[in-house]
Amino acid sequence: MYEHDVIVVGAGGAGLRAAVAADEAGADVALVSKLHPVRSHTGAAEGGINAALQEGDDWELHAYDTMKGSDYLGDAPAVETLAKDAPEDTIRLEHWGMPFSREEDGRVSQRPFGGLSYPRTTYAGAETGHHLLHVMYEQVVKRGIPVYDEWYVMDLATTDEDDPNDRECHGVVAYDVQSGKVEGFKANQGVVLATGGPGQAFDHTTNAVSCTGDGHAMAYRAGAPLEDMEFIQFHPTSLPSTGVLISEGVRGEGGILYNNKGERFMFEYGYANNDGELASRDVVARAELTEVNEGRGVNDEYVHLDMRHLGEERIMDRLENILHLAEDFEGVDGLVEPMPVKPGQHYAMGGIETDENGQTCIDGLYAAGECACVSVHGGNRLGGNALPELIVFGKRAGYHAAGKDLGEPQIKTGYGDDIENETDADLPVEPGASGLDQSGGVAADGGVTADTDGLLERTVEQTREHIDYLIEKDDGVQHAEIRSKLQNAMTDYVNVFRTEEGIKKALKIIRECREEYQDVYVDDPSRTFNTDLQQTIETRNLIDVAETIALGALVRNEFRGAHWRQENQIRDDENWLKHTLISWDDGKPSIFYRPVILEGEDKTYEPKVRSY
């Protein structure tokens, strides 16, 4: 067994930042990650980091833009914390050597981005995430923070009191991918989940194959609610054949979208008469799909993004990486022809419910980065707001887990007096593991045991049995079949445009996946680098996470941010200024709601019509 004060699970931007913060606060901290840190998906982020750095800009404008972008589903204390902390934390990256793009006077450059009232997106070419990830890893190396890389965390060691608010998390169980060895990692002070997004729940996604919602699923099964899972961002400019991301920076620098008639449709058809291509991402994604659906798409599939008029010099200076991506993954030379683009799953606004210090309702369990929902992004995340979230809330979670006093949080977590229960959800099938045989620790086991004493050892033992069962089982269904069925269902029915009928179809297919998973087996008998085993476990996590996305999408019958419902195409502030929470309750998801907090430090954000 390994033992540290703080265990950080996941070593992307948020995890690395949390580890550095915990180390600064004097804790013995270690990172445990299924990938070597520099392989993490933060490295694929292109655009930049929003931070109010310049004179004429200030954190209040950043907070306002973020709240408007969220379609008034962000919690003001979270939004304001982000906007206030981002400038200092961005400059700190510069002090750690981050190679930001520069102005003539040697200061860091900032550029316009969608939904921003001021050009505050700080960037390093079109590869900002790559640099952020490497700079953060460098700081971890500098401090000598131990990294258990290629260790796959499978479960949390959490106590099992009835009310999740009374539970405690004492560590994690992981297996060493290289050797197959299962070990417990005891956390004396806290566990920080920083496992990234669940994009692999969808078929067409900009996310890496390792973005499988592991942290979401572990926290969920341990009793921490998942919040606002229905809010999935579809990025307007992904390459059609692979889902590879083309940065919003292209539009930020002046790139233009055209339909098959050569019309600049964002203006011509009135999708965004003021901001055009630089409207918020959800607005642009819906516009593109509407063009395609109305027969104005190119090859009935995509639209064109043209940056040729920017000139080679400017493109090479600020967007060079985009040229390589378009060439390597779509065979298109962005200097001589427009690039084909279409919406692709990109980001989950929702996640594990936390307060502004990163803490969940379970004592000692934290979450930060894309796997968490503070909630900063509400119904829609603005471009350039993911990276500051990683560094700001990664830092806060790391500090708090290490015992640093960050003040009383204003955001509540878990079950409480302010909760409203969902009572009449019309579900087409029974969700969750109910009615399924749970032998062998298959789909959605609880991960909780009776008392704290020896808790970790018992969780280790359960995990070993689970792995043995999967490897020793001789035949059945393979994960790839289930995963691809799940991904197709989500992309077909829980995409940009959603209908009640479609979501119900998705829930039925998810139920089928869960049932098929009862018979899943791992064909590869080896304990050495068994990716078959790892993907089988990831698939279980994807099923749980996809189900919460579909459930949230079904109950939220309104149109807010990235979530559009055919049956009620208006933002329904009277009924829906509240977060959807789904928690795993004895093998079954239970759905409840918590009101959004629109009262900021010294002002209230009144919901306004969101136009760009």
Partner: protein, 292 residues
Amino acid sequence: MSTQQQKPNTQETPEDPEMKGAESPQQERLKEKESDMVDETSVDESELEGDTVLIKVFRYDPEVADKQEPRFDDFHVPFKKGMTVLDAVMYARDTYDSSLTFRHSCRQAVCGSDAFFVNGKQRLGCKTQISELEHPVRIEPLPHQEVVKDLVVDMDHFYDQMHTVEPYFQNEDTPDASDLEEQRQTRENREKVKMSTRCIWCGACMSSCNIAAGDNEYLGPAAINKAYRFAMDNREGEEIKEHRLRILEQEHGVWRCQTQFSCTEVCPKDIPLTEHIQELKREAVKKNLKFW
């Protein structure tokens, strides 16, 4: 392997799992260059449409009886326009043999996980088009690194070398972050280090370098490039630069490089590695002249 539809055609057992060939790396590389030229012109993508391509994939697993002796398995993969080497091995794994093992994550040449030895050259699987290769396509783990299983190699030595060069920014005089004041850097200086900061730690360069193959302590192109990234960054002071040059000048440092450009040729991010190493040699000479 019960689900495998295309039975593996086991053949060509290499001499050892580390794939150290009998010919000298230099000879091998010359041959590779020739075959590369062929590769780029050999297959017309439209001819492949609707066809299957044959990939021959290296297999090895220390604990599975029929994989302890390294072998190659054949997989026939339906060709699709734009198909990459990574797409092909993923298809083979998900369709024929779920035990086929390789690292991969982002699919867009930024995570650096999937450097393989494809048709005799180090390449990133995700950015290598099947249509640009000679067929059948031979896919092996990176040479000169211990094979863990199939296409997965042990990267520990690579990481150790990266860590040797103190791969982190060092400047004690940074302004106070709470004053929101950054260190100034000219555009020219940022441009100077730009290419060196693009490294994705894929290990292709180290695997291609025959000096690294013969001298286990040689820092290698990636680590030296990492040091270049800091040594040439004016935000670090002169004193730290001298400290960095001292690390690079050691016995297994920059002077080992024989400027064969093999690292530069295989770098998937087009970093001019050999030039960077040469420039550091010149810097080291300049520094030493100062003290003489």
